[in-house]
Amino acid sequence: MRNNLGPALAVGALLVLGTGLGLALFWAPEDADQGVSQRIFYVHVPIALTAYACFGWGAWKALRLLWTREARYDLESYTAIHMGTIFGVLVLVTGSIWAKVSWGIWWSWSERQLVLFLVLFLFYSAYFMLRYSTDPGPRRANMSAVYALFGVVLIPVSFLAIRLAENFIHPVVFTREGPQMAGSMFFAFCVCLAGMLLLAAALYQAELAGKRLDARVRELREALA
C-alpha cells in the first residue's frame, strides 16, 4: 500500500498541476493592471503556500517526535523541512522575477512575503548547519525538532515584525491586494495550489523513501562488516 503512494502522488501532481497551469495560462482572464506578467501569481503564491505547508508539516512531525520519541519522525520532519526550504528558494526566485517584471527591480524590501521568506530561508539554512555539525542520534533528533518548532512560531512573529518595520524602513508603495480576483482566476489559482501541494507530497514521499533505503543499506552494511 505504502509503496504505491509515491507514484500515485506523482501522477496526480502531474495531472493537476498541468491542468492548473493550463487554466492559468490560457483560460483565466488577463489582469487589467499588470497584463500577462500577473500570471506568475498562479505559480508564485501556490509555491509560497506549499512552502508554509511543508514547514508546518515538519513542525508537526517534530512535535510528534518529542511527544512519542519514535525515531522515524526525525527523518520525516527533516524531509518536510528540506522540501519547504526548496520551495522557499523557489518563492524567492519567482518573487524576484515578478518584482523585476512589474517594478523593474529584482528586490523590494516593501514586499512582505519576500522579506519573510528571506528570513525563513536564513533560519532553515541554519537548521541544516545544525544537523550536519551534530552526530546522528537521539540528541540531534531532539535538537532538530525543537529548532523546527521554533521555526513555525517564528513565521507569524517575523511577519508581524516585518509589518512593524515598514513604518520606519520603507513606506508601502506597492500592494498586491489591490484588485479583486475574478471567480475564474480564483478557480485556476486553487487548481494550481492543489497541484503544487501534490507535487510537494510526491517529492516528500520520494525523498523519504530514498532516505529510508539509505538508512537500511547502512544498517545492512554494518551488520555484514
Binding site: L66, F150, L164
Partner: protein, 213 residues
C-alpha cells in the same frame, strides 16, 4: 530556598561566581561593545542622522550578546559538568533558567557601559530606548541560552551559534529599533514583550529535550 527556585539560584550564582573569579566574559563584552561603537563612528557619514546611529546601537547590543552566549556553556562543556547537571537537577528547565539569569546579568553589566558610551559618542538615549533594551535582554537571553546549549552540543560550536541566533533575533532588532526611533514607541515595546513571552515559554518548555539524550 529549596526546590526549583533553589536550583535556579544555585546555578545563577555559579555563573556569577565563576565570572567574578575568572573575569573573562564581562570585560571582553564591555571592550567589544565600546570598540564596536568606535568602529560605527567611522562607518557613518558626517551628516548621518541620530536615527541611523540608534540602529547601529542595536547591532552592537546583539553582537555583544553573542559573545556572552558563546561563553555561556564553555565551563560546563570543558569540565563535562553538563552531564552531571542533567542527572542531578530535578527539573532540567532549572538549568536553562539559571543560565538565563547569568546571561541577563552579563548583558546588563555590558549595557551599563554601552549606553552611556553611546550617549557620549553619538546621541542622547531616551527612556524608550532603555525600556526597549531591558525588554530585548529578556528575549535575547531566553532564546540565546537555548541555542547556545544546542551549539555547544555540535561540532561547529562558536561558528554555529550566530547562524542559529541571528534569524531569530530579527524581530527583537525590529522592536528595539522601532521603539528607539518611532514617535510612538508603545506598540514596539508591546511587541518586544510579546516576543519575550512567546519565546521564553517555548525555550523553557523545550530545554529538557535539548540537553537530554
Amino acid at each position: 530556598m529549596s526546590g526549583y527556585l533553589g536550583d535556579v539560584a544555585a546555578l545563577a550564582r555559579t555563573s556569577l561566581l565563576l565570572e567574578l573569579r575568572q573575569r573573562d566574559t564581562v570585560p571582553a563584552m564591555v571592550l567589544f561593545v565600546v570598540s564596536a561603537l568606535v568602529v560605527f563612528r567611522f562607518s557613518l557619514p558626517a551628516d548621518a542622522s541620530d536615527l541611523a546611529s540608534l540602529g547601529l546601537l542595536w547591532i552592537a547590543i546583539v553582537f555583544t550578546a553573542i559573545l556572552a552566549l558563546t561563553r555561556a556553556f564553555v565551563a560546563e562543556r570543558d569540565q563535562r559538568v553538563l552531564d552531571g547537571l542533567v542527572l542531578a537537577t530535578g527539573d532540567r528547565s532549572a538549568i536553562w533558567l539559571g543560565k538565563v539569569a547569568g546571561v541577563l546579568a552579563f548583558l546588563v553589566l555590558a549595557e551599563l557601559v554601552a549606553l552611556p558610551a553611546f550617549a557620549l559618542f553619538f546621541a542622547a538615549v531616551g527612556w524608550e530606548t532603555v525600556a526597549a533594551v531591558a525588554l530585548a535582554n529578556v528575549g535575547i537571553a531566553a532564546v540565546g541560552t537555548l541555542l547556545a546549549a544546542m551549539a555547544a552540543a555540535s561540532r561547529a560550536r562558536e561558528l554555529l551559534l550566530p547562524l542559529l541566533f541571528l534569524p531569530l533575533v530579527i524581530p527583537v532588532v525590529v522592536g528595539g529599533v522601532g521603539a528607539s526611533v518611532e514617535p510612538d514607541p508603545g506598540r514596539y515595546l508591546a511587541f518586544l514583550g510579546l516576543y519575550d513571552l512567546i519565546f521564553a515559554i517555548l525555550a523553557w518548555a523545550s530545554f529538557d529535550y535539548v540537553v537530554a539524550e
